[in-house]
Amino acid sequence: MNAPAAPHKLIKGATGDWEVVIGMEIHAQVTSNAKLFSGASTAFGGEPNSHVSLVDAAMPGMLPVINEECVRQAVRTGLGLNAKINLRSVFDRKNYFYPDLPQGYQISQYKSPIVGEGEVELELDGGRSVTISIERLHLEQDAGKLLHDQSPTMTYVDLNRSGVALMEIVSKPDIRDAEQAKAYVTKLRSIMRYLGTCDGDMEKGSLRADVNVSVRKPGGPLGTRCEIKNMNSVNFIGQAIEYEARRQIEIIEDGGTIEQETRLFDPNKGETRSMRSKEEAHDYRYFPDPDLLPLEFSQAFVDDLKAHLPELPDEKKSRFITGFGLSSYDASVLVAERESAEFYEAVLTGLADKARDGKLAANWVINELFGRLNKESMDIASSPVSATQLSAIVDLIGEGTISGKIAKDLFEIVWQEGGDPRALVEARGMKQVTDLGAIEKVVDDIIAANPDKVEQAKAKPQLVGWFVGQVMKSSGGKANPQAVNDLLKSKLGI
């Protein structure tokens, strides 16, 4: 609880600095075709109540049967979080009445979760990093959805989500500011997307967070926490924490005390408001679900899943750094999203000389491709430039056939019109001029035409850049810039 604090942001109050203590419960929808305890489909966006089995509707006499795929997904996620996998876990009933909860209880795991303690490492701006401990991960059922806008007097219930498997991932109160909180959610999302255990689609509700926030004087005893429920955007999580921390600090500094309660974040107003107090909290009357035997599996089952795990973002990142000399920052950018990393890997695969051009390829993916995609608000899946085309462009630069500048023009052509970059270079005469004789003539012409600049360059060697520019312009950008540079330097005697 009181582990040495990683570098983090403190909040200035009237009475000095305050530290924010944050713990999170992430609800991640398990990627599976069927629900946790029934065979009904988990597809998003069906007609209301079109994906509902007799079990999901809690018809009399219906019994839950565990979906093994969901168990595998939870174990895989646990392995991705470097967590202890519990070979025996127990499903409990969490009892409460609500119209979106057909059974009158949610099947969850209370005292014996499927996954125990683990940890994730977060990278923060400026090369800082912090490790956040995971308390547990357990499997549970999602509830249905209430539709209040279908009738002026009635509320309708859609049970399509009812019984869909969720993983609740509970962190220890190790998070210390909004930036870390955002990085934590982003990192968990990334790990699960690599694993294919949760699609991480926050807009569709596949990933939701409950955020517990309290404040204290740095190093002091923990304060009373408030829980902000059901956050479905990383940015809102950041805003809610900032607001909630300041709200609590103001109350305490004004001589008040924090009441433990559940709050909701209003993104329009940017503030949190009270939902229910501790006194109104439910008594869930947890007890082991007698319809289900304890969930037991062997270490061999776990080992087999472990052996088939994909490479996770942290491992991929270090491979990019050591294998291709990428900067830590660039590697982080590439691995943050599974799709980006996969695109970069595809570009690497297409390269003639990975060792030589791997880093160049990273620059092109990050700066040219991502830059352009961002500008057009497009995602990588809809990129007009394929990995194969980008590999070809990088190859052309790496082997010296075209200059970086020409490559940008080529990229633009491929983006707009498509086509094989190598063929385009041939067809449009974009090949770089490496014929020294030809370049020398252009260099000589320019030196002859600009005696004043020559004099100035002798005094101020940086002016060579002006000459390079002139030569490049005159050659239509096709001269090899390195050759031009070398020639100019020797001719100008600098």
Binding site: M59, P60, R285, D291
Partner: protein, 490 residues
């Protein structure tokens, strides 16, 4: 034709095979008997059209030589079993006119084997009761009466409709369920044979749940052999019920008539209650003598935690029930009352839909699971349950094959006689609840009558998944005691 209803299943099977009568004739005879016996209130729904249709189909199959093990045998089904397109209510107002679009696994297997559905049988609401007086359809009358008396007696519960219908020859056999004695106690009160199999032997899928860790389906029939025949069709692994066990179903009927020579029969000293009627005591030792005469060895055994079984049961069962019955909330099916707002809807629906006994148990169950009470009640009761299980394990580990006890502490009592004090009613299950707590099989077999001419039963408790031994021993008792039929007064 009426004498067709007095046949056992085994006899009817032979008659159908030899073409002495048809399945349709057999079914019609029962439908007529049901109609003439409505005063017993055993059936809450008669399904004559379905019955005749199924009987016709059975006749066709029998003619082609394709009849299953129960071809043409007319049965009654406890209203706790979901029957597709046929109203299923658990005898609770809260289910109203609920018509399930599905069929329970147990009944599916009965129809697979050719049985005929006569209708749905009365029971205590959600199987909570020991007299069938808590049914929203009103109490069931026991076909048995005290000698020279017109007093209406209860058939026991919760499977009172099943026991009454079988005893009064309104069906050849019936399905029932047993959570704390709901098969064995009514069987004992009506001179029928009832077996609660090992927990996990029959699928619970499609049976309205009372207490999931205790509920188990089983048959009530007029002979041990008939119970064995029905068990074979009802039992079996079901992937839709995780607690059902994947063990092959034996030919239970083959156990009938098997020698019990050399079997060790335990007589538990803790079942000898203070103030136990002499008649029960006498019945018990008579039963022991019969088994001894058949070559079994009697040994006194100790089940030291027996006295804690009933209190622990009345914590575990209501706890599970309080959660199992949460789904009856007026939102999706069944009764809905007070739709002004959601809280009012819950409160009014459940207050109106549940009877007093169900409300009592839901309240007890909610209480014992509450924060601050869980450890003192629920957790403790589960520990007691473990000790009760261990009592039996220790006993069986010493080579005991089965345990002989009385089935009930008394014979059937009058309607309304035991309503005032719920604990008095709960004491009916004193000999039977331990068996549910331990998940073991138990059979109740008629063994004699009391001084007023009412039937009394003995219970045999077996090792897990050893129903066969119970059938063999039960048959010995039946051979010695004979079978009992109530005089028809209705």
């Amino acid at each position: 034709m009426t004498d067709l209803t007095s046949l056992t299943i085994a006899e009817a099977r032979a008659g159908l095979a030899s073409k002495s009568f048809t399945a349709s004739e057999l079914t019609d005879a029962h439908l007529a008997a049901i109609e003439a016996a409505r005063v017993l209130n055993a059936y809450v729904l008669e399904t004559p059209d379905r019955a005749r249709e199924m009987a016709r189909a059975a006749d066709e199959k029998i003619a082609k030589g394709e009849g299953g093990p129960l071809a043409g045998i007319p049965l009654g089904i406890k209203d706790l079993f979901a029957t597709r397109d046929i109203r299923t209510t658990a005898c609770s107002k809260i289910l109203g006119n609920f018509i399930p679009p599905y069929e329970s696994t147990v009944t599916t297997q009965l129809w697979r084997d050719g049985a005929v559905l006569l209708g749905k049988l009365n029971n205590d609401e959600f199987a909570m009761g020991s007299s069938n007086e808590t049914s929203c359809f009103g109490p069931v009358t026991n076909p048995w009466r005290r000698d020279g008396s017109n007093t209406t007696l209860v058939p026991g519960g919760s499977s009172g409709g099943s026991a009454s219908a079988v005893a009064a020859q309104l069906c050849m056999g019936a399905t029932a369920t047993d959570t704390g004695g709901s098969i064995r106690q009514p069987a004992a009160f009506t001179a029928t044979v009832g077996i609660k199999p090992t927990y996990g032997r029959c699928s619970r899928w499609g049976i309205v749940a009372f207490a999931s860790s205790l509920d188990q389906a089983g048959p009530i029939a007029r002979s041990v052999r008939d119970a064995a025949i029905l068990m074979r069709s009802m039992a079996g692994h079901d992937p839709k019920d995780t607690t059902s066990v994947d063990i092959a179903v034996p030919d239970y009927e083959a156990s009938i008539g098997k020698s019990v020579k050399g079997m060790k029969i335990g007589i538990p000293k803790e079942y000898r209650l203070d103030g136990m009627p002499a008649e029960i005591e006498k019945l018990w030792s008579e039963g022991a003598d019969w088994l001894k005469a058949a070559g079994a060895e009697l040994v006194e055994v100790s089940l030291p935690h027996t006295k804690y079984a009933l209190p622990a049961y009345y914590i575990v069962a209501p706890a599970e029930a309080s959660s199992n019955l949460a789904r009856y909330d007026g939102v999706r099916y069944g009764l809905r009352e007070g739709a002004k707002n959601i809280i009012e809807m819950y409160e009014d629906t459940r207050a109106e839909g549940f009877g007093a006994e169900v409300r009592r148990r839901v309240l007890i169950g909610t209480y014992v699971l509450s924060a601050g009470y869980y450890d003192a009640y629920y957790l403790r009761a589960q520990k007691v349950r473990t000790l009760i299980k261990k009592d039996f394990e220790d006993c069986f580990a010493k080579g005991v094959n089965a345990i002989l006890t009385p089935a009930t502490p008394s014979a059937a009592f009058g309607i309304g006689e035991k309503g005032a004090d719920p604990v008095e009613m709960y004491l009916n299950d004193i000999f039977t609840v331990t068996v549910n707590m331990a998940g073991l099989p138990g059979i109740a077999v008629p063994a004699g009558k009391d001084s007023q001419g009412l039937p009394l039963g003995l219970q045999l408790i077996g090792r897990a998944f050893d129903e066969e031994t119970l059938f063999s021993l039960g048959d010995v008792i039946e051979q010695a005691a004979g079978r009992f039929t109530p005089a028809k007064w209705w």
